[in-house]
Symmetry: C2
Subunit: 353 residues, 2 copies
DNA sequence: TTGAAAGCGCTAACAC
DNA sequence: GTGTTAGCGCTTTCAA
């Protein structure tokens, strides 16, 4: 009834007091190192029982301060809306769940300053490792990620996923086979009879997009088709109300009619383009479209889909990071995961939610 | 060249030493309390400069241990794939970004034990607050969330979002107007000429679904239509390969033909149903569908959409939580946010990604 | 105005 | 086998 505000949280000290032994012994036993330090079975037993009875849980912050470890992983995404975020996250979670790590997540909302700040914040909060999906601003060719300097001098292990910043040659990363996937998609379009194949993309100077464009070119050449200045359509704006795909398609007549096949490097752009073309052209004039990204469940777009290994990318990134955290070996690990191409009408497992 | 391993991290102590004053003074000044403690302007100036020069950053864990605050918010989602997660997250982030909080996120993957564990873990990690989107297992009518006990005895403020567990009457929560939205959607179907309106839903005993079902009934009665045992179709499985919508639609002929309007309580289910019905029936026999959830960009489903205020729900939940964290007032805050109904063919802002 | 010192609760090197 | 003790780096009360 008096100032019993504090239910006197059970601490190591409390336990030690109750048992009449020292904090050290208790700590050792509770960590499972009892045998290694040859603490008598009897003592161990008593400690365990008492801890159980008192519902002792070691204070996280105190331990973290002492060990400088937080069992927390930081993850930086460019944006929440990218559908691959949830898939990657699933993969990442599945790995870290086992080891009792928590995930601290932040998105940069397409703003490099925020991205920078978020990375700084995570390092400040002492995450044990970092998974980074870098954001690359559109149409700035020589953009340098300012956080690269920060990262270069941190002890905290990190791994890039999906796309790379500049100079990532000797760092850890997991990406997908953008080049090969684009190449194959072009071949598939060719097999379907397309002879005037174009490629449409946002003009992002990031590795994944670059690789897709290169893969496209290689595919075109591999099929013996000509490559012209009109083969690749680069969009400089993501804003639908300005000089982007809508405007281009409406103004440039030939753009609407000169292709019988189109490789589109991102899903959203593909859906929009498909939507516009279907509106603008008679059905038999709409080019065959191949695109990166999976269609939403239960919507048949009639496009060739390049399915990216997002869940696996998450798993791989998490595993690499865990390895770097646990082992002192800092030699870079780099992986390229395979995509899968789903042909038009090919059976795509159905999901329900 | 020698054992200079440690670049001797700058600490309060270091600074104090360099300046020839005490830690206290430095700490006070750096926290901005210099004036309040009437520390001389000159000293303050010196401290600030020195801290700047040395690039001093207070150690997060040490401060957290001392203050028992982590500037971290825990968020529990049932699953990453629910599209509303990314929208809510956007809202939540927008609020906490300002105040320099980090977000620790975990998903329970439709498993109540994991959900429980995750909450426990977040409390253990000393999050300053918790946003919970509870998972409710399908078809278990009397399910009790075991974490309610845990929460009842924690000091950590928390707020429920989107749906409520049992006994949430006196807790903080933000939900949406499921009842009214369902009711209105039914009226809209009626206005469109539907006279045999059914409702299809997963059989989840959670507040949001219950409210939608009640809203449906109320709407039906409001329109003067009869309510029969066949008005509501409850599905007990989410597994598409078992006795769920697919099976029901294929086996039960009348199910396919007895409705001219359908209210469906979740987006994924609606898309699947629409897909199946369009396949099974001639176009003029497919019932008009109203459903919760927004269609994917650039896909016209021809359904009435009930757009839920997900971003705002995130914002509201975050604000409430922040308020509870900063103020000692613990009286519950509860809000119901409005949904918006988009009629078939109504212009829906287009996005590009 | 400023400083000393007692925490916060745990870890780990070292002593007995 | 078990205990002592010095950190980890910051906050905060109290005294000067």
């Amino acid at each position: 009834m008096t100032n019993q505000k504090k239910p006197t949280k059970t601490t190591l000290q409390t336990l030690a007091g109750k048992l009449g032994i020292s904090k050290t012994t208790v700590s050792l036993v509770l960590k499972g190192d009892g045998d290694r330090y040859r603490i008598s079975r009897k003592t161990q037993q008593r400690v365990l029982e008492c801890a159980e009875k008192e519902g002792f849980v070691p204070d996280f912050l105190a331990r973290a301060l002492a060990t400088n470890k937080t069992a927390t992983i930081g993850i930086i995404f460019p944006d929440v809306h990218e559908s691959f975020m949830s898939e990657m996250l699933k993969g990442i979670e599945s790995v870290f769940y086992e080891s009792d790590y928590s995930l601290m997540i932040s998105t940069s909302g397409f703003d490099t300053e925020i991205e920078d700040r978020n990375i700084r914040q995570m390092l400040h909060k002492k995450v044990d490792g970092l998974i980074l999906v870098p954001y690359v601003p559109i149409a700035r060719n020589n953009y340098k990620h300012s956080y690269m300097k920060l990262l270069s001098k941190t002890d905290c292990p990190f791994v890039f996923a999906d796309r790379l910043p500049e100079n990532a040659g000797s760092l850890n990363w997991i990406i997908q086979d953008d080049f090969e996937a684009a190449e194959k998609a072009v071949c598939l379009l060719f097999e379907k009879g397309c002879r005037s194949i174009g490629c449409m993309s946002f003009n992002l100077s990031t590795s994944s997009i670059n690789n897709r464009l290169e893969g496209f070119k290689s595919g075109i050449e591999g099929c013996g088709l000509p490559l012209s200045s009109r083969s690749i359509i680069l969009l400089d704006r993501q804003d639908p109300h300005s000089d982007d795909i809508t405007g281009r398609l409406l103004r440039d007549n030939s753009l609407r009619t000169e292709y019988d096949g189109l490789l589109i490097t991102t899903g959203g752009l593909a859906h929009k383009t498909g939507y516009l073309l279907r509106k603008a052209l008679p059905a038999d004039k709409v080019p065959v479209i191949a695109k990166f990204g999976r269609d939403p469940d239960y919507f048949d777009t009639g496009m060739i889909q390049i399915i990216q290994p997002n869940v696996n990318m998450g798993i791989a990134a998490a595993r690499v990071l865990l390895d770097k955290i646990l082992n002192r070996d800092r030699s870079p690990i780099q992986k390229i995961l395979k995509s899968r191409i789903i042909d038009i009408g090919e059976k795509n497992e159905e999901k329900c939610n």
